[in-house]
């Protein structure tokens, strides 16, 4: 009744191409933006920022990045943790070497550096496909973590081997370091997420997105109709690296404050982001958000229920978390291999017809 398209005709290709062709969706999107930018900063507190909002924003950026590489272009990567580390350490080196420059630019530059590194590690994709590529990206994961642990230049020769984010401000408000306010860190990350999402949406709706999807669906046919596989695959790695690098930089500088390559950016990170896009939906920007929200909220919810409500010891709850995450992944794969995004699409289809069944 409310989700109606009747009378909503598109008279130009521009209109047909827009992100939210249905009016209801568009208005809902504006409301979400208004709440995100205008309401939450006033209501947010440290606990919610750290437990949910900051990781959700940051992982969403990483998920968008990995989704472009794996979901749109079909190149499976298990190196996300390592690439986030590149972003983090690049940001750290830039922050400490150029303290006068605003951190906003350091984060973007970290993204750029990660794009280059990711592209380099993407070169084997020209010869290696599918599983083999996934396993090859493990080389990137393990090598990068080892590199950041061993070569002390990366952590400025500190004795602890850790990198610590010095305090930096944007328009006079601290966004890194110990004196930050929740709303400031939240807005800082939100801005990056908004920019990333818009860029990702633009790239995937145009010819670049089609080239990536063509490579994913049938790379030989794609090449025969004119897609240059080298350029297509490497551009996917580059764009993906850019987003993942930004995510890693924010994860270290704004969220964690201090990091150590093995602990913060190990193989578990790579799996986590991969689960996010699988559960959320491969090849879907919305899916990246959904998956990130799901996997960030789940342990928080489980802890609330298990420890706070039932009073179980934390290690049992940790074990149960593993069981539930594992089971959920399997259930999702069986019931809806295309993820939450597909469930959402099906729900919308039903909504468009409601109250009619078909």
């Amino acid at each position: 009744m409310f989700y109606r398209e009747a009378g909503d005709f598109k008279t130009s290709y521009t209109d047909d191409n827009q992100t939210f062709p249905i009016k209801f969706d568009r208005y809902r999107y504006y409301v979400v933006l208004a709440v995100a930018f205008g309401v939450i900063p006033f209501l947010i507190n440290d606990y919610w920022a750290n437990a949910f909002l900051l990781p959700f924003l940051i992982y969403s950026i990483a998920a968008i990045g990995l989704n472009i590489l794996t979901g749109y272009c079909g190149q499976v990567s298990l190196g996300t943790g390592g690439f986030m580390a590149v972003g983090a350490y690049a940001c750290y080196k830039l922050m400490t070497a150029f303290p006068e420059v605003n951190i906003f630019f350091h984060v973007i530059a970290a993204g750029g550096i990660t794009a280059i590194v990711c592209t380099a590690f993407g070169l084997p994709s020209l010869r290696i496909k599918g599983f083999y590529l996934a396993v090859a990206t493990l080389a990137a994961q393990f090598f990068l973590v080892w590199l950041f642990n061993k070569v002390s230049w990366f952590y400025n020769y500190s004795a602890s081997g850790q990198i610590n984010a010095p305090e930096r401000t944007v328009f006079g408000v601290p966004v890194t370091g110990a004196n930050t306010d929740a709303w400031a860190t939240y807005l800082f990350c939100l801005v990056f997420l908004a920019i990333s999402a818009i860029i990702a949406r633009n790239l995937t709706r145009g010819m670049q997105g089609r080239k990536w999807m063509a490579i994913r669906d049938m790379d030989i046919a794609a090449e025969i109709i004119g897609v240059n596989p080298l350029k297509a695959k490497l551009s996917a790695f580059a764009v993906s690296g850019f987003f993942i690098g930004i995510s890693g930089a924010l994860f270290f500088a704004v969220y964690l404050g201090a990091a150590e390559a093995g602990d913060s950016f190990g193989i578990q990170k790579s799996f986590l982001v991969l689960f996010m896009i699988i559960i959320g939906g491969l090849g879907s920007i919305f899916g990246s958000f959904a998956g990130a929200a799901f996997l960030v909220l789940l342990p928080v919810a489980l802890k609330l229920v298990g420890v706070d409500m039932f009073g179980w010891p934390t290690d049992i709850v940790a074990h149960i978390q593993l069981i539930i995450v594992g089971a959920l992944i399997i259930i999702f794969l069986i019931a809806e291999p295309h993820g939450i995004a597909q469930l959402w699409r099906v729900a919308k289809e039903k909504l468009r017809l409601w109250p009619f069944p078909h």
Partner: protein, 272 residues
């Protein structure tokens, strides 16, 4: 024998030009198997050239040689009179050669419209940055190419399914979408690999009409592999017949119809 450098006009008013592509002594081997043995023939501009023969004769391989996917061990491919240097398949596409595939090679994760639009990729060259910003150059280009794609969609009568994911379409419609994708790149040469395979009579009539319209309206040179002899005899200007990797016939439909070697190897009884 018509002089292959002189244009002529057919009975139904189409203009056939000079030779646009020539295969000279092509030999293609896969390990120990010789797929194509010393075959030579030419294709004239604006004509419809059929390649026929029993299964396993090497027809698809021949098409793959023409499209640059396979590189022959011997012989050369001349394009507009000049030997074509060895190129990557995607470079061949840029030369204006488009094709369809025997087993349908559509991109199943995308809609019909997206699939057709991929055919325009060589005409669109906004860079990564422009596309990331979208407003302005990239959007402009997208709209312009969308208009061209819609013309072909109109031509092939697939407007009603343009937003349908290709995976959901029946076989006949998939083949039409593939043809659209090939056409939308405004090719000078169109290669069709068994475009009628698996179709019923009605669908074949539609597809034949489309092929003739393409040739008529756009002047596209067409080379096609096909098994339906009725279609072949009706559509083609000239025919090449292959058997076991060798050429056993080359001429107009009436020549081929009465060619004893072809009858023995393939046609069976003299076709009326």
């Amino acid at each position: 024998m018509l002089d292959s450098t002189v244009s002529y006009v057919t009975e139904d008013g189409r203009t056939i030009g000079g030779v646009v592509m020539e295969m000279k002594n092509i030999t293609l081997r896969f390990g120990g198997v010789v797929a194509i043995k010393d075959i030579s023939f030419d294709i004239r501009e604006g004509e419809i050239r059929a390649i026929i023969g029993p299964n396993g004769a090497g027809k698809s391989s021949m098409l793959n040689v023409i499209s640059g996917f396979y590189v022959p061990q011997d012989g050369e491919v001349l394009f507009h009179g000049k030997p074509r240097p060895q190129m990557k398949p995607y470079e061949v596409a840029q030369q204006g050669i488009a094709r369809t595939f025997q087993n349908i090679a559509l991109f199943e994760g995308m809609t019909v419209l997206d699939n057709v639009m991929t055919g325009r990729l060589n005409k669109m060259n906004s860079g990564l940055l422009a596309q990331a910003i979208w407003r302005g150059k990239a959007e402009q280009e997208e709209i312009e190419n969308r208009e061209k794609a819609e013309k072909i969609i109109d031509f092939l009568e697939i407007q009603h399914i343009r937003k349908t994911p290709v995976a959901r379409l029946p076989y006949g419609l998939k083949k039409r979408v593939e043809l659209a994708r090939a056409l939308v790149s405004e090719p000078s040469i169109l290669l069709l690999d068994e475009p009628m395979a698996g179709m019923n009579v009605e669908e074949k009539e539609d597809m034949s009409r489309f092929i003739l319209d393409v040739n008529d309206e756009f002047g596209t040179t067409i080379a096609l592999i096909e098994h339906d002899m009725g279609v072949v005899m009706d559509l083609s200007d000239r025919i090449v017949v292959m058997d076991y990797g060798k050429k056993i016939g080359d001429g107009t439909p009436s020549d081929i119809r009465n060619n004893q070697a072809v009858i023995d190897a393939y046609l069976g009884v003299a076709h009326d």
